[in-house]
Each structure stands twice: as C-alpha cells, then as structure tokens.
C-alpha cells in the first residue's frame, strides 16, 4: 500500500514538473515567428513560398486597404484569399468565437483599439507579435509590441466656404462653447479609437496642454471646483454635450463638404478622399491651440493558429516596408507608416497632410499604457455622458 502510494506521489510530482514544460512548449507559429525575425526578405520569401505552395494567405482587417491587395501578389507571386473587412468589434468577436475555439479564421489580423488588443487578443493568446528584421532598429520602441502597422488621423475640419483665410476656431476650448454646438462627431462609444483618445486626454501630458490652452482662451488658470476630476474631464464632458453624433465618418465628411460655411466636424482624415474637399479646411496645429485631433494606431498581428505563419510574417514585412506602405497606404492622406523611412505621398501633401512626427506632436496619441490605468472609470464616465445627451 505504502509502495503504491509513494509511486503515485512520485508520478504526480513528475507530472507536476512536466506540466509547465508542456504548457510552455513552442507552437509551430511561435517557432516560425522566432525564425522569421532573423530572416532577410529573400530568405523569408523562399520559406513562405515553400510553405504556402498554391494556398492563399488569409487576411482579416479593419482597414479595407490591405484586403485583396494586388501589389503583394505581384511582388511575391503569393495569392491572398478573399479578404474579410469587418469592423473592430466584429474582429474581436470573430477572434473570440473562432481563434478562441481553436478554429482558423485568418493568418494576419489588422485591428485597432489598443485596450481590447492587449486585454483580449494578446491576453488570451489569440494573436502573436512579430517584428520584421531591421524594423526594430528604426521604429519607436513603443510601436513594436504589439506591432503598429500604421497610424491614422482623425482631425477637426470645417467648411470655409472657399475662403482659405478663414480661421473658424483657434483654441480647443472654443469647441465647448455654445456657438460651436452641433459639431459633428462619431459617438465614441461606437468608435473605440475616439474613446481611447478621449481617455488618453486624461493623462498628465494632455492635461498640461489643455490647461495651457485654457489659460490662453479664458485668460486665467484652470482651477478645479470639484465637479471634474481634472481639466480633461471638463473638456470632454462639455465637448460631448456640444456635439451632434453622426454614425459614420464618411457622412460627417459629406455633411461638412456640402454644408454651410462654418459647419464643422471631427472625422478621419482619409475620408476627404470621398468628398469634394474644395471648401474644407483642416484645423491643424498652426490654427488651433490645444490639439489638432486624434492619432491612433492600426496594429498588425499574426493569428496564433495561422495556417501559413512564415507567409504571414512575410506579409507583415511587406506592410511595414517602404514599398508596401507606398503601394497600400501611401497614395492617399491620413495614414502614416510606423517605418520612419516611408514618406507620405505628394498627393497626401497636396491635401495638407504632414509626416507622422508632426501629428505625434500636435494630436492626442492613443496611449495603451495610460488606458490600462484609468480605463474602467474613464470609459464608464464618458459612456455615461454620451448617453445623457
């Protein structure tokens, strides 16, 4: 009896010791990512071709630009499967329902919303991070894990009625005043990148910017009267109450383009592509004190159960390369590569667009670290204000 018991205990201990080893065993995808990180483009291309054969790489992306992108196929000869372009909430739902259940959904995933990415997709192991060789040397460290593919801008615009000298507003605090009531904006509860940027505003860095703008506009220091936790909450509350919620950025762009002089809105820069921009002015850094809008990341990740991990890594290499950015995003305004060597296009410049560094200085940049600290309170408070309109 004693002998049996000691064998059982010994077996249990052995199993107990082995379990962490089993749990931490590297998957094929992790192994491929580790290898790919040290491969050159040509080495990775050869490996990817060998891996995928006649197969097709699956992409699920919040941005339509990479879906069915032909330039990648032209360059590599690797075919892309019919892409899927759901919005962010659906991407997370699909990741949970499919990758979470061990089912293949795509090889590469491009998504927004750093809070959900970190706390759901990464925390549950649905996606894996991969940084192409060489990119770590030139990109900002904060953009590498999880890897940012591009940044996008959502900016203040107004209809100038053709008068390019018009300066409708020069300070963000004006946007909280009754004369600017009706500024169009997508409900941040429905648009998580806006919600995240509003929450980011509550960080000390942006509180300082808001305080400076407050002093400039009202001629006095901001002093808390106990109503708001800090100056950022006051701006957010008053701005939200002043806004008109419209459900799509493209509709806001159209409303401003076709609207009366003086009408204004906060929408994604790239939506200017869809409207006649003749009468639209972008209120960027030179014009407006405080901040010019929001800058938010689009992340690129490898699905933890990717069918073709080497090919997925190759696609990430392409998207973060100068050539890939130029072919996929570089034609238009409003998207900026995480690769500092990739310049914005002449076409984008003609719309007044600026390089990433410019927007990083004058826009509110979504900050995953700050989000992590204050999310529950800030999200609920802002969602509450949005509902109480």
């Amino acid at each position: 009896m004693k002998k049996t018991l000691s064998i059982l205990i010994a077996l249990t201990l052995c199993l107990g010791l082995m379990l962490p080893m089993v749990a931490s065993a590297e998957t094929d995808v992790e192994k491929a990512i580790k290898e790919a990180q040290n491969m050159t483009w040509d080495e990775l291309l050869a490996k990817a071709k060998e891996e995928i054969g006649d197969g097709e790489l699956g992409i699920m992306s919040t941005t339509s630009r990479v879906i069915n992108e032909e330039s990648f196929t032209k360059l590599t000869g690797i075919k892309l499967a019919e892409g899927s372009n759901p919005n962010d909430s659906k991407i997370y739902e699909l990741m949970e329902g499919e990758i979470g259940a061990g089912l293949y959904t795509a090889d590469v995933i491009l998504t927004q919303d750093s809070f959900m990415l970190v706390n759901k997709a990464v925390a549950n192991g649905w996606v894996l991070n991969y940084v192409p060789k060489g990119l770590a040397d030139i990109a900002l460290e904060s953009d590498l894990n999880p890897l940012v593919c591009t940044y996008n801008t959502r900016l203040f615009f107004y209809n100038d009625g053709g008068n390019k000298e018009m300066k409708l507003y020069t300070n963000v605090w004006q946007l909280t005043e009754p004369e600017f009531a009706g500024m169009e904006f997508k409900n941040p509860v429905d648009e998580k990148t806006s919600m995240n940027c509003l929450i980011t505003m509550t960080s000390e860095k942006y509180q300082a910017k808001l305080a400076e703008a407050y002093k400039e506009y009202y001629g006095k220091e901001w002093v808390s009267d106990g109503t708001y936790m800090n100056i950022a909450y006051e701006w957010i509350h008053k701005f939200i109450m002043n806004c008109t919620f419209i459900n799509k950025d493209s509709t806001i762009a159209k409303d401003i383009a076709d609207g009366a002089p003086g009408s204004s809105g906060l929408f994604v820069f790239s939506k200017l592509r869809s409207v006649d921009p003749t009468n639209i002015t972008c209120s960027c850094y030179d014009d407006i004190q405080g901040f010019a809008g929001f800058l938010y990341p689009i992340y690129i990740q490898i699905a933890a159960n990717a069918k073709y991990p080497y090919t997925a890594c190759l696609f990430v290499n392409y998207c973060t390369s100068v050539e890939g950015y130029t072919n996929v995003w570089g034609k238009d305004m409003g998207s900026y590569s995480v690769n500092p060597e990739a310049p914005i296009s002449e076409n984008a410049k003609s719309f007044g667009d600026q390089p990433l560094a410019y927007w990083q200085d004058c826009a509110i940049v979504e900050d995953p670290v700050h989000l992590q600290n204050v999310y529950a309170f800030a999200y609920t408070q802002i969602a509450m204000w949005c509902a109480s309109k």
Binding site: N87, K192, A260
Partner: protein, 617 residues
C-alpha cells in the same frame, strides 16, 4: 401478481392505443413534430441570451472589479449586469440606468406605438379602399404599395434626410425640398422621433396592408350583405362586422410592427441620433459592439424579448378568446364593393401622389444617385457605373467594373437570391403546416406552445441572433462559413412571417371544408394541396414571399456569419461604409428590382402575389 401484470399490460396497451389514435390525426403529428423542432431551435438562443446576461464577460469582470471592488473572474455568475442597468446607482453611476435603459426604453415604446398606428392607418386604409371599394387604379396601388417594405428601412431614412435637410438644420446641407421650393421645415421634422416613427410606419405599412387586406378580401360578403339588408349604416357595419373580423390580422400587424420597430437600429441612428433621440436598440448595439458591457446588452435583449412576449401573449389570449374568426366558409364568393361615387377621383389622385412619394420616388432617387458622377449634380449623369466593362476609378477602394459587369456584385447577388429562395421555400412550407396544425388544435396548450415558439425568433434582435449562431458554428464546425448555416439562421429567424400568415389563413378556413373533403375520402395531402392551399393561396404565398423579401435585404443577421462578398447586402454595406455611393445606390435598386421580378414571376406562374393577394386584380 399476475393480475397486476395483466392490468399493467392492459394500461400499456391502452396508452399505445391512445398514442396510435392521437398520431393518426395529421394535425397532431405536425403539432408534436414542430413543438419538438422549435423547442430545439429556440431553446439554445434563449439559454445563450440568459446565460450571457448572468455571467461576467472578460471585460465586464475587469470593469466591475475596478468600479465596484468585486473579485469576479471571467465566466462567474453575477447579477451586476441587471443591477447596473436596471437600478439607480450611486455617485458617477447614479443615472446610468436612466440614461442607458429607462429613457431609451420609453423612447422605443413611443416610437413603436406611433409606427404601429401609422402602419395600420396607412396600410389598413389602403387595404380597405382596394378590397372593399370601387376605387380606380387598384392594380397600380396594389403593386407599388409593397415597395417601401422591399427597400431596406435605412434607405428610406436616407431619402427622408435628403429631401427634408435644410440650411437651418445641422451643418446646413440643402435638401431637395429646399432646393426646389425654398421651404425649410423645422428641425423636428428632419431629426427625432417624428421622422423615426413616420419612416418605420411607412416601411411596415405593407405588413398591415398584406395582413388586413388578405382578411378583407376573403371575408364572407354575406355578413355585410345581411347587415345591409337589416339597414345598418356603413359606419355601423364597419364597427360591428368589418373591424371585428380583421382583428386577428390587426393584432398580427401590431405584433410584427411593434416588435420590428422596437428592434430596429438603422432608422433611429440615421434620423434619430442627430437630435439626441436614442432608443433601446441603438443603446443595445452600442453596448454590444463596444465589447465592454456586452452582458448589459443581453439584458436589453431580454427586455425586448419580454415586450414581444407580452404582445404575443395578448395576441394569443385574444385569438383564443374568440370562438371563431372564420371568414371563408365556402358559401359565398361574392364581394360587394362600396361605391365612393364623386370622391373616387379625388381619393385616387391623393393616393397616386402619396404612393408616388413613398414608393416610386425613393426608387427614382436610387436610380439617379447610381448614375451621377458628382453627388447632387445631375448634370453629371452617366451610365458608366452600370455598364462599364473596365475598372471604375476615383474611389478610395477598388470597386471593379460597372454593376452589370461586376463579377463580385453578380456573385453576391446570386448568393442572396439562392439563400432567399431556399429559406423562403423551407419557411413558407413550414408556415403552412404550422398554421394548419395550430388552427386545427386551437385552444390546446401544444398549439399555444408551437405558436409562441414559432414567433420567438422574431423577438431576438438580429444582431444577437447572428452572434449566438456564430457560437453554435464554432462548436458544430462543419457549419462554419457554409450556406447551410445561413439557411438555418434565416429559416429560424423568418419562420414567424410564414407562421403568422399560415395561421391567420388557416384560422379563417372553416373546418367544414376539410370535413366535406374527408367525407368523400380525400387523403390528407390531397386535402392540403387540392383544397385548403388553393382556397387561401394568396395568404400562403405571402408566407413564402415575406421571408424572401426579408432575407434579400437582411444585413445584421448574416454579417458575422459570412464574408462581405457573399451576400448582396454585406457588399452593399461595404460600399456604403467606403462611401462608394453610386454602387450602394445601384445595389439598392437591384434588390428592389429582383424582388419585384420574383413577385411578378410568382404572379405569372401561380396567379398569386403579395399585392394580388389583397385584391389588386
């Protein structure tokens, strides 16, 4: 012992005999079969909704732990979703329940009530004019009145906005009315509860028209004639005979329109939100898609289901209370039309103008918008968006060739047609059988159960329904991404349409007709196919056509279950999102044309159609 054994055998035999006898009646077989099938098909979604409302999701656990200092883990049981959404909180959360739930609920109830009244008023009046009076142009009215239901409701909201927007509202975009007449309507006409109710009312008026009209057309004229002989006035006949007879249809209309409006999302977002008019469905979608407080979205889903169930209960109570709604006895084929004399011309003209505005004008608008190179500038009309055989440029995304030569659009269109046809065939046939079984077993608990269960899917918002079946497909992996999954989801979701029309039609049929056939020895299939179906053909066909129409223009239900290029509506949504206006308007027009073609073909092949079913011939 042996005595007991023999008694046991006897009671066993008795039970077997009873079962045999019970199942020898076709209606009993059908009612048991559908009770089992529907229990299986509806139990999982309901269970899933309740479970999600009572457990902490990953994000919720994080939020609640931070806000309320709880120690919840993902998947833990919690009442917090209910508590936070339904009861008054403290501090920052004081008004959460009022703003997120109670106020939007009140708005939803108001909007749905107004939409019901408008739908019944418009649909019922037109149905009455077409079926019971000698008004002119019946065929035209009957044909075009179904258009608003064929079009996705949000496109009607868009047309509303495009017509009434003016320089005094919002960003001052000048709408059609102002540019043509200089008239600026007040802001409450453009945005808020008024346009939401009107648009929903117009969108669902064809429901009232189809259901009330079907009953009126099949009404036994002897009843009215008898009243006329007894010198009852027109008003008295209407109050005492006509309205009581159309009551089941009226209740069905209220049930369908109220539930649909309560769950509708797109219209309140388009013409409600800009005036800060928020309803339960918009809040539900925000919470659900926000991915943070999804459990509370499920609580809202339960609230919507409960409201539907109350209405359903009232409906069942009412139809069960009345001994008979039989209108088709087989004894009279005569219909006497009310002569409206000198008002005929005036009413006809008013109707023509009205129907032009709600049915024809939106279609013209889609056609024009699909052909202008620059929106709003009609001097730039071109057919290239329809006929180009080469890639059309100028958009932010690749759109391919013109609509008629665009492989992606044609594939998606075929995908939708295939799905809608299969769903409507399955659902329509089930509706007839369920209708037959429920009508024959009326008053029994089983009939009430089947009737209720068949309607249940209608009460679950499409979005939540899609998400539930995504979870089903992750377990039954052979269903993932297949047409079969879409058929199952569409079939269950649209069963209520067919069941309602099937039950209404069967309820109107006197049992004597089938009994007569039974006496002469006609088999059950023969009785169904040769007698019952032909008599109520128009009502049954609408049970096939309504799921077809709904399926053709459905988006929320399928969007999680398939890729954007599979169905025409998912592709439409993609183009709309990317502001490819010409393509999205063109696709809208295509959907309307396809549905009309199917209606026309059905009419030519079977002699029945949605509109003819209510007296358009």
């Amino acid at each position: 012992m042996s005595k007991n054994g023999s008694e046991g055998r006897k009671s066993g035999q008795k039970l077997l005999y009873r079962a045999k006898s019970y199942f020898s009646v076709q209606a009993n077989v059908l009612i048991v079969l559908f009770a089992v099938l529907l229990l299986v098909a509806t139990a999982y979604p309901m269970f899933s909704v309740i479970r999600s409302s009572l457990t902490a999701g990953q994000m919720e656990a994080m939020m609640y732990n931070s806000l309320f200092s709880t120690k919840l883990k993902t998947g833990d049981f919690t009442w917090l979703n209910f508590k936070m959404l339904l009861t008054r909180g403290t501090g920052m959360m004081a008004d959460w329940s009022v703003m997120q739930f109670w106020k939007p609920l009140w708005n939803s109830l108001r909007m749905s009530t107004y939409a019901c009244l408008i739908a019944i008023l418009i649909g019922g009046t037109i149905a009455f004019l077409i079926t019971r009076t000698d008004i002119r142009c019946k065929k035209f009215f009957s044909s075009v009145f179904i258009f608003p239901y064929i079009m996705p409701s949000w496109t009607l909201a868009l047309v509303w906005k495009n017509v009434f927007a003016n320089s005094n509202v919002g960003t001052g975009v000048v709408g059609m009315l102002e540019s043509l007449t200089g008239i600026c309507v007040p802001a409450w006409v453009v945005y808020g509860i008024f346009p939401c109710s009107i648009v929903m009312g117009i969108h669902y008026a064809p429901f009232a028209y189809i259901l009330i009209g079907g009953t009126l057309r099949n009404m036994d004229a002897n009843l009215e004639e008898a009243a006329t002989i007894l010198q009852a006035g027109r008003g008295r006949i209407l109050r005492k005979i006509t309205i009581p007879i159309v009551m089941p249809a009226l209740f069905s209309t209220v049930l369908l329109v109220f539930s649909s409006t309560m769950a509708s999302y797109a219209v309140p977002v388009f013409v409600g939100s800009p005036a800060n008019f928020f309803v339960l469905s918009t809040r539900l979608r925000s919470l659900y898609e926000g991915g943070i407080y999804t459990g509370q979205a499920y609580v809202m889903t339960i609230a919507l289901i409960l409201f539907g169930m109350i209405l359903l209960g009232l409906n069942t109570w009412f139809t069960g209370k009345r001994k008979s709604f039989t209108t088709v006895t087989g004894k009279s084929g005569q219909v006497s039309y009310i002569k409206i004399g000198k008002f005929n011309y005036v009413i006809t003209v008013i109707l023509v103008i009205f129907l032009f505005l709600i049915s024809i004008f939106p279609i013209i608008s889609f056609a024009l918008e699909s052909m202008v190179a620059k929106q709003g500038d009609y001097s730039t009309l071109t057919l290239k968006y329809w006929l180009s055989r080469t890639e059309i440029s100028g958009y932010a995304v690749a759109v391919g060739n013109g609509i008629l030569f665009n492989r992606n659009i044609l594939n998606a269109l075929w995908g939708s047609i295939k799905l809608s046809l299969i769903v409507s065939l399955i659902v329509g046939s089930c509706g007839v059988l369920i209708g037959y079984a429920v009508a024959r077993k009326r008053g029994t608990k089983l009939a009430g159960l089947v009737s209720g269960l068949a309607f249940f899917p209608y009460l679950v918002p499409s979005m939540a329904f899609g998400a539930i079946f995504l979870a089903v497909a992750s377990k039954l992996t052979f269903l993932r991404g297949t047409l079969l999954l879409l058929i199952i989801v569409g079939g269950i979701k649209y069963l209520p349409f067919a069941t309602r029309s099937g039950t209404n039609a069967m309820m109107q049929l006197s049992g004597e007709i089938e009994e007569a056939a039974l006496i002469v020895g006609a088999s059950w299939p023969k009785r169904m196919l040769r007698i019952l179906f032909p008599i109520q053909k128009s009502a049954f066909i609408s049970g096939y056509l309504l799921p077809f129409v709904s399926c053709m223009r459905e988006l929320s239900l399928f969007v999680l279950l398939t890729k954007s290029g599979t169905l025409i509506t998912t592709l439409l949504s993609y183009f709309d999102e990317k502001a490819v206006n010409q393509m999205s308007n063109g696709i809208n027009l295509l959907i309307v044309i396809i549905v009309l073609l199917v209606n026309f073909t059905t009419n030519k092949l079977t002699g029945a159609s949605i509109d003819k079913g209510v007296g358009g011939n």
